[in-house]
């Protein structure tokens, strides 16, 4: 953390997006996390991604629970809506908000404790219900805010700062999400913005539940020798298997991809995610194959990264399944929103 706020002075040639905003306009409050925290890099990636797709700050909703990760919603897109919920209960809030207003972009920021321990049930059901949101887990394997106990994502054999060795098996959010049928499952690393920024952009535009599990080293409690989530270990063991480029629908693809290598996945508004396989034997659109492939590599101690699984999902889309109103509730006329006692009588009569 720092004591002085980031000065309100910018590079004179800072580029502007379609809204005429610079990257600096997407910043938030001053971070109070430890210096060198991976979460701050993810925050920077979200800023870059939101700026890049010319997201209107007022069209974004930031939701979080409790933990170091959950503090970070304060640090990006200061002009967005925000809700800081009870520990592990962010998915419920997101779901409610999503049902009430489908016009907004939803981004949930959670951690390995918030999502895989206290909030595991909520996390699973958000996937099941296919809530239209981008769900980012800032995964560092420890409870940083309570001084570094192992979290549910700690690998077997990883060492705590004081020397304890973890013996319980980890919960892997990527495997869990694929198992539960998520249509957009990615893993990335806070230290690789080139990969992370397009993933966030694609995740924001994806119509349905999009998960990005971001390895985000805890510089204070989990960045030592023997840790499997330190900067050094992650750099040495992470392997990008698929690159994702997000292509907004207005733009043409300008990059030439070798045939067979590039797999475009169309999104509902005509934009595309173009997947480029870096490993030949891998099919990111086939959920079962992807699951097996990722699991095999986890057994070998490797972190596969990239958009590990992506498929168009229209059949199980949240709003369609739940018949939510197309018009946001806050724009409905009062008479329609609160139809009155007679209408209530009618509804109740159906159950008599």
């Amino acid at each position: 953390m720092t004591y002085i706020p980031k000065p309100k002075i910018a590079h004179p040639s800072l580029p502007r997006n379609e809204l005429g905003l610079t990257r600096r306009d997407y910043e938030g409050a001053l971070s109070t996390l430890c210096a060198g925290c991976g979460h701050d890099s993810i925050t920077a990636a979200i800023i870059e991604a939101s700026w890049g797709i010319s997201l209107r700050p007022e069209n974004l909703v930031k939701l979080s629970g409790i933990g170091c990760s959950s503090k970070t919603t304060a640090y990006f897109v200061g002009g967005a809506h925000g809700f800081n919920s009870v520990h592990g209960r962010m998915p419920s809030i997101a779901m409610g908000a999503n049902a009430a207003n489908r016009d907004l972009y939803y981004i949930g920021i959670s951690g390995d404790g918030d999502s895989l321990s206290i909030g595991l049930g909520q996390f699973c059901h958000a996937i099941r219900r296919n809530v239209d949101m981008l769900y980012i887990i800032e995964n560092n394997g420890v409870y940083g805010l309570t001084k570094g106990q192992f979290s549910a994502s700690a690998d077997i054999g990883t060492k705590a700062k004081k020397g304890d060795v973890n013996q319980q098996p980890p919960i892997d959010p990527v495997l869990l999400a694929m198992n539960l049928g998520a249509g957009f499952v990615a893993r990335s690393f806070s230290g690789d913005k080139k990969q992370l920024v397009p993933l966030i952009q694609a995740g924001l535009e994806y119509p349905g539940f999009a998960l990005i599990d971001v390895l985000s080293p805890c510089v204070t409690f989990n960045d030592h020798d023997g840790s499997t989530k330190s900067y050094q270990y992650t750099r040495e063991h992470y392997e990008p298997v698929v690159e994702a480029d997000f292509v907004p629908f207005q733009r043409e693809i300008t990059t030439d991809y070798a045939a067979g290598e590039a797999v475009p996945v169309m999104l509902h508004d005509g934009s595309r995610v173009v997947l480029r396989k870096l490993a030949e034997a891998y099919d990111p659109t086939d959920a079962h194959a992807a699951y097996d492939y990722v699991q095999q590599h986890i057994a070998k101690g490797e972190y596969l990264t990239g958009l590990l699984h992506c498929r168009p999902t229209t059949d199980t889309e949240f709003h369609g399944l739940n018949r939510t109103p197309e018009q946001p509730l806050n724009q409905l006329p009062f008479g329609k929103l609160v139809p009155g006692a007679k209408a209530l009588e009618k509804v109740l009569a159906r159950y008599r």
Binding site: T2, K6, P7, I9, A44, V219, E236
Partner: protein, 601 residues
């Protein structure tokens, strides 16, 4: 590209744009911080070590530092460095007891300086503490040279000159006023001096030989001579209509002096358009604020004299074609024009002139009658004879003369010690961390968004009442306190240690001006295009690290618009970035090895 060699003394020196641009390498950010702390005497002495005349320069310096100032690239206007220098000078306490002690026992070497201007005085300032006996010969009855005679007292009061000269003369300098050197031969043969320094300036104003010059001579004046006569109160009036020919800084002094001598209409006649003016922008502004009219594209043709009396001048009205790069490619005369005038002042340049140096002494002159002087050692072609200031390479300005004095003093010292004058200490840089604690730095690292303060002036009504009313009042306490915070502390350097970096991106994410990038290595031209913000200003260096240990990428910092806020260092979990004050060691005579007193014996 190769990792930046920060051990080269120029690397961090160049980052301090003002200090690098200053001919005397004044440690500007250091003295600005001292002013911020109210330590005016300390600030004055930091100045004095480099530029010797902070009070004078705080008013009339040509300020090469200000166009160079990084603040001018970050926002619009540079820090008012020059005016802050004046704050230090105006508010200092007694400082004489903190100047170097003058040895009672002299080293037996006698030095003659010709002309008591800034160059000679600097030589004396540097050599007196080493035990030299310095004699300064001055043609006028007062010391100061062009600072005294050519800069009007409404810009530079005599009392300021007196004080700063006294600080040097009182070191025990043998100042011979009213003593004009008529023959170099006599001085060399009979003077008994171990070395001679010529600091006699460029006292010859350029002539404009046009029809009518002789007939109208009574009302046609050479600018610098005319200013000199005003300074000595030989001239106290001027006609109602005055034309100034030329548009340099001397012309600005002439037009503003004319107003104070009673002129009602003053016009400055410029041959070319404004972008070609030689005068500093702020001097033009000051003159125009006093309703001086500057007329462009007028080339003098003749003086119009009727009945033995000057009536005015004829000008060709010029038209120019200027190309994309701002150069004149063609010119033509469109028409001609008469401008009435009672007096004409010629301010079209000046030259050094040495009628008093015999040409058979081994002091060689080139075809333009300019002495051949070594640009580093300032030695002429005759051993033991040195030139500095305007006398050496033609008219420059005070701050250059001071630096010439410093360099000549080193040479004189080497010469008198029997060592080669080319044997000079190289410059150096020391670095010292400014870290005090977790988030504490021993400098104010926050960025102040405040705009440049404007120096208050005496009102237009008041200032013309007397010729010596100083127009600029200097910053108020509140203004100075605000202006000092505009300084970006460029001397507190961002220093990177690649071995410590864990590539967490924290510094890159926090940098407010996108200076930093971690990227695969490449050639400089290629790297410049691949940074977080393209590095288009090639005059500013890229600071490239050794390969980083995890990925082999390099950390690249574009120095161009870094505001030295220290956030990269504050966010760095491993202290790979640190903020370190650079102390540029720019050697003077006193720094040369072997104390003078011992070597002389």
């Amino acid at each position: 590209m190769a990792a930046t060699d920060t051990s080269h003394p120029d690397y961090f020196h160049k980052v301090v744009d003002c200090q690098w641009a200053c001919p005397a390498h004044t440690d500007v950010p250091e003295y600005i911080r001292l002013i911020a702390q109210g330590r005016f005497t300390d600030a004055y002495l930091v100045n004095r070590r480099s530029n010797v005349f902070p009070g004078i320069l705080g008013r009339v310096c040509d300020r090469p530092c200000e166009p160079a100032c990084r603040r001018g690239r970050v926002e619009e206007k540079p820090v008012a460095i020059c005016r802050l220098k004046r704050v230090a000078a105006d508010h200092k306490d007694e400082f004489r007891d903190r100047l170097p002690a003058i040895p009672a026992q002299k080293n037996g070497k006698r030095i003659a300086c010709i002309g008591a201007g800034c160059a000679s005085l600097t030589v004396a300032n540097d050599l007196m503490p080493l035990g030299y006996e310095v004699t300064i010969f001055e043609q006028f009855a007062v010391a100061g040279g062009l600072m005294r005679t050519n800069i009007p007292s409404f810009r530079l009061p005599g009392s300021v000159i007196d004080e700063e000269i006294a600080a040097i003369v009182d070191m025990g300098v043998d100042l011979r006023l009213g003593h004009r050197i008529e023959s170099m031969r006599k001085l060399l043969e009979e003077g008994g001096f171990d070395a001679v320094f010529v600091g006699s300036g460029a006292p010859k104003g350029k002539e404009l030989d046009l029809p009518g010059r002789q007939e109208g001579a009574a009302n046609i004046h050479i600018g610098i001579t005319w200013l000199e006569s005003i300074a000595f109160e030989h001239i106290k009036t001027v006609g109602e209509k005055v034309l100034i020919i030329g548009v340099g800084n001397t012309a600005m002094d002439c037009c503003r002096s004319s107003l104070r001598l009673g002129a009602k209409s003053v016009k400055v006649m410029a041959r070319k358009p404004r972008q070609f003016f030689k005068a500093s922008e702020w001097e033009l502004e000051d003159a125009e604020a006093e309703s001086v009219e500057i007329i462009i594209n007028r080339s003098p043709k003749s003086f119009v004299v009727e009945g033995g009396k000057l009536k005015g001048m004829m000008f060709d009205v010029m038209e120019y074609e200027v190309d994309a790069r701002g150069r004149i490619t063609a010119e033509r005369v469109a028409s001609e024009e008469f401008q009435p005038a009672d007096d004409v002042i010629l301010a079209i340049g000046q030259e050094n002139a040495f009628p008093w140096i015999e040409r058979d002494l081994g002091i060689e002159f080139d075809k333009w009658e300019v002495p051949k002087v070594d640009p580093v050692t300032h030695e002429s072609t005759r051993k033991g004879v040195f030139f500095g200031g305007d006398a050496a390479f033609g008219p420059k300005n005070i701050i250059w003369s001071v630096e010439h004095g410093h360099q000549a003093a080193i040479s004189i010292h080497q010469h008198c010690m029997g060592k080669p004058v080319s044997e000079r200490l190289p410059p150096g840089v020391n670095l010292q961390s400014r870290k005090m604690g977790m988030h504490e730095w021993s400098y104010n690292n926050d960025y102040s968004g405040i705009e440049r303060r404007l120096v208050p002036h005496v009102s237009l009504k008041e200032r013309f009442k007397k010729i010596d009313i100083e127009v600029e009042l200097g910053f108020t306490a509140e203004q100075a306190a605000a202006e000092v915070q505009r300084c970006l502390n460029c001397d507190v350097q961002t220093v990177f240690d690649a071995k410590l970096c864990i590539e967490c991106d924290a510094c890159i994410d926090i940098c407010p001006v996108d200076c930093l990038t971690m990227t695969p290595d490449g050639e400089e031209a290629d790297l410049r295009t691949r940074l977080k913000a393209p590095a288009q200003n090639v005059t500013q260096a890229l600071y490239v690290s050794a390969p980083l240990k995890f990925t082999g990428r390099v950390m690249v910092k574009d120095e161009d618009v870094c505001v030295h806020c220290g956030l990269c260092a504050e966010r760095c979990p491993t202290a790979a970035w640190d903020m370190q004050k650079s102390w540029v060691k720019w050697p003077h005579a006193v720094d040369q090895p072997a104390p003078a007193t011992e070597a002389a014996r």
